[in-house]
Each structure stands twice: as C-alpha cells, then as structure tokens.
Symmetry: C2
C-alpha cells in the first residue's frame, strides 16, 4: 500500500485501516505499509515539538494495528516513530502476526541526513541488527528507507534465512537508482522484495523549501529482480501479488550465489581500507 | 570493446589489435576487452587439452598486448587464461600501463560451475583478493564475470579507493538481471562501471548442447547507475565515452553511502548464519 496522508493522525489511521481491509478483501495475507505512515514526513524540519508524535512500543498504535491484524487474520508490517525513553527515539518497523501479537520489530539501522531529510536529528541508529522476523508466512527481512541502498543489509538478511524482504521507504533522489538497488538485492540474494514508498506532496512546515513530492512507484520484485507489480507515481494505491517461495528455491539453484561467496576474502567491517 | 572470435587465435589477436587501434583513433585512453578474448569460450566442455590454451604471465600474450599499449599510449585491460604452474590455472585480468608495463593483475575470485560453463574444472579461485589496480588514469577495480554479481566484491574495491570499476563478463542467464546488478554496484559505491561482454554464437565443441549465443550488450554506467553507452546484442562493437571523475566526487557527496555504513553490524564473512 502507498497512501497519501494529512496532518490529522486519526483520519490517517482510519484511511489506512480501510485500505488494509480492502487489501484483505482482495486476498492479501501480508500487508506492508509505507515508512512513518501515521503522519506527514515530519523530518523536513528539525522541530523539537515533533517528538510529541513518538510513542512507545507496545503503545496506542501497536494496539490499533495489532487489533486490525487479528480482526483480518493477516500479517501486517507497520512503521512507527518509537519513543524508547526520554530523549531516545527510533524509526521502527513492527511486524504483527495473524493473531495480532507482535512477531518482531526492526529499528532502522542506517539513518540519513540531508536537507529536508533531517533524520539524524530524530532517530538514534537501530541496535537490533539485521534479523529476519519469523512469521506464519515466512521469514521477513525488514529494511527501512536508507537501509535499502546497502547491499550489506540485504545480504545479512539472506544469510539469516530471510525468505522475503520488505522495505519501507520515503526518501529518494532518483527513482531509477532506488529501484535498481533493490532489484539488485533481490537478484543477489534470490529473494522477493516488497518495496513501499510514500506518495503525494507534503509541504515544508518551515517554509524554507518547496516541500517534497514523494514519488510512489511502490513495487514488488521476484527473486530474479523481475517486477511483479508496480504502483503509480502519484496516487494512493494497493498492489496485490502472489509470492511463490518454491520459485525462490528454484532460483537459488539456478543462480547459486551463496555457494560461491568468497568469505575468506571479504573485509567489509572496516570503514575504509587506507 | 565486444568482439566475436573464432578458433584461430592469431586471427583473433589481429582483429583485436585492429579494434584497439580503432579505439585509440576514436580518442580512447582506457580500453577494456571481454573475458578470455583470445579464443572461443572453451569452458563449454571439460577437456584436458584446453589447458594448452593457458600461458604464463608475463608470457606471449602480455608481450603482445603490452607492446600495443605502449605503441598507442593507452591503459589496456586484458583477460587471459593463466598457467601459474603445472596443474594450477587461473582466469586472470591483466592491466597494462601506457608504457606497456603491467600495472597489475586480478585473478577471478568467484568461479561458477553450471552446465556449459564448467569453470571450476579450469580455474582455481583467485588468491590476490579484491585490490584496485593503480593506473595513470585512476584506480581500476577489476571484476570478472561471476564476480560481477557479488555486491561484496564491488564494495571491497570501493573501500580500497577504486575510482572506476571494470568488468569482463561472458556468462549470464538473464541480461536484465546482469545489467541491474552492476548498475547497482555503481550506485552503492558511487563509481562508474565499464562492463564488457562476449558477443556472437559459439558452438559446443562436444555437441552435447546447442552452444552459446553470448548476448553482447556491453555498457558503461555512471556513478548513479545511469547508462552512458550501450552496445548491441549481436555485433562486435566499440563503445567510447568520457568518464568524469569529478562527477563521482559530487555523487559521493549527494549520496553519502560510505558515511553511514553500519560496520558494527555487518557479519558478512560467515557462510550462513544458522
């Protein structure tokens, strides 16, 4: 689902709930929401009052979305502004099981910081590592936004048995580079990738910039990077597709990248090799 | 350059030399040849007599191509079947400096093995690691074929200061996945990528299969994954483009992936994390 949102959190949640119910009606078993779906993208400015938007996990939003997952019997991936303690906040994805319980959470690991995307002001880098979340539908490797650009992150998920990869995303300079990077994760790791982007225009509350037009184009790719479903650049939209895990098994036999990794020769935990 | 070749090594070398001279006439300073350019792709079958094609480095081919690099004043990237010792062979790229000297070599690290691509029979995995080769035109991160599919390999080159990445390639199931993987390397590492593929039909000497039609489509991508030049699927062809290293510097400022790598959280030297 990619869904344009407004300043009114309660209205946003109602719209999202209605759309999630529509997904279920269309047969979806797994529903993935965009990054920080409850509200506008508040990182356009650095504003201490925006910390009021954060909430604990579990908390009101996990109660709300957990109840929805239970009501519909779906696995649901949400994205929340987590208040872990006073002065300690994360950008956190929460995965709900079909019974409404929390299957696991992932705290965004790579935090960007650019003009109009002041995320380092708001979010402490995640400390839960790259761990796929076990669900009744398979192991989900959840990555958020800036994480999606890192081949290391996708590989870490695959090495821990991820069977599909969910991405929640909002920030981009070039849509094509964004798409290519994630299709390449699918290819390199023999995994389907579900990539959900924000959509629509959001003004800059500070008036310093022209605001951000999020470009949508959410997509689902198969384990060879092939596009299975693609949303528009401008409209709120629901994408539905079947994910065939047997096909992933076949692809990993045809393209046995894991067989031939040169683990003796990778030295990827250095900042730079001077 | 992508160049169809025949069974006649001397004719192949003459054609390649003529094409390299054409590159120079068109203004090229760096010329990159395809994988194992001197001969047909002999890995279609497992045949001990094919080891006769191998030669030492330095040896006759490095004399030949080194002289050409010196004559034309170009940096030249070749790909040879290296005989390191009796019973010890590698798939080795050799980079020549403008004065004809060997600037460095790279032994293919990831060796595939699939029906009609029996490379594990011929090539011992490289033991020189992923080290960019310093030339008067910049640091070249050379990767060969199966290597190109590994984000770890491209990242290793970037961490050691590679300023561009050269790929020599022949094997593929799906051209699109191949292209996407390498454009993603360019994006993730803020590097131009030069990717050279074989082209044309080569019969299976054993008659067991229908042979291989190599798909060409050699390309050069900029540091945002943008395609700068693209060759055809069927013809021998020379691609010429300018590579602007100042642009790479700008792109690494706009997309500071190296800044935000979570080196504390990558555990990529395990085979699998059970």
């Amino acid at each position: 689902m990619q869904t344009a949102v407004s300043e009114d959190i309660e209205t946003n949640k109602s719209i999202l709930a209605e759309q999630i119910r529509n997904c279920k009606k269309k047969g979806a078993e797994l529903v993935v929401l965009q990054e920080l779906h409850n509200y506008l993208y508040f990182c356009q400015t650095e504003d201490v009052s925006a910390f009021d938007l954060a909430e604990s996990i579990p908390g009101p939003s996990t109660d709300f979305y957990g109840a929805l997952a239970r009501e519909l019997g779906i696995v649901l991936v949400c994205s929340l502004f987590e208040k872990r303690a006073m002065g300690l906040y994360h950008n956190t994805a929460v995965v709900f099981e079909k019974d409404g319980s929390i299957a696991g959470k992932y705290r965004k690991m790579h935090i960007p910081d650019d003009p109009a995307y002041y995320e380092k002001f708001y979010f402490t880098p995640g400390d839960l590592g790259f761990k796929p979340i076990d669900t009744s539908l398979g192991k989900l490797g959840v990555l958020v936004c800036w994480d999606q650009w890192y081949p290391e992150a996708a590989r870490m998920m695959a090495l821990q048995g991820a069977e599909s990869s969910d991405n929640e995303n909002e920030k981009k300079r070039q849509q094509e580079a964004w798409t290519i990077s994630q299709r390449a994760h699918a290819i390199a790791n023999g995994l389907p990738v579900i990539s959900v982007n924000r959509v629509g225009f959001e003004a800059d509350p500070s008036g310093q910039t022209m605001g951000i037009r999020f470009w949508g184009h959410s997509f689902i790719a198969g384990p060879q990077g092939e596009i299975l479903a693609l949303a528009s650049s401008s409209e709120s939209e629901i994408l539905i597709t079947d994910i065939n895990l047997t096909h992933s098994e076949s692809v990993r036999r045809w393209w046995p990248f894991l067989r031939d990794r040169r683990i003796d020769a990778y030295d990827l935990s250095k900042r730079f090799i001077d």
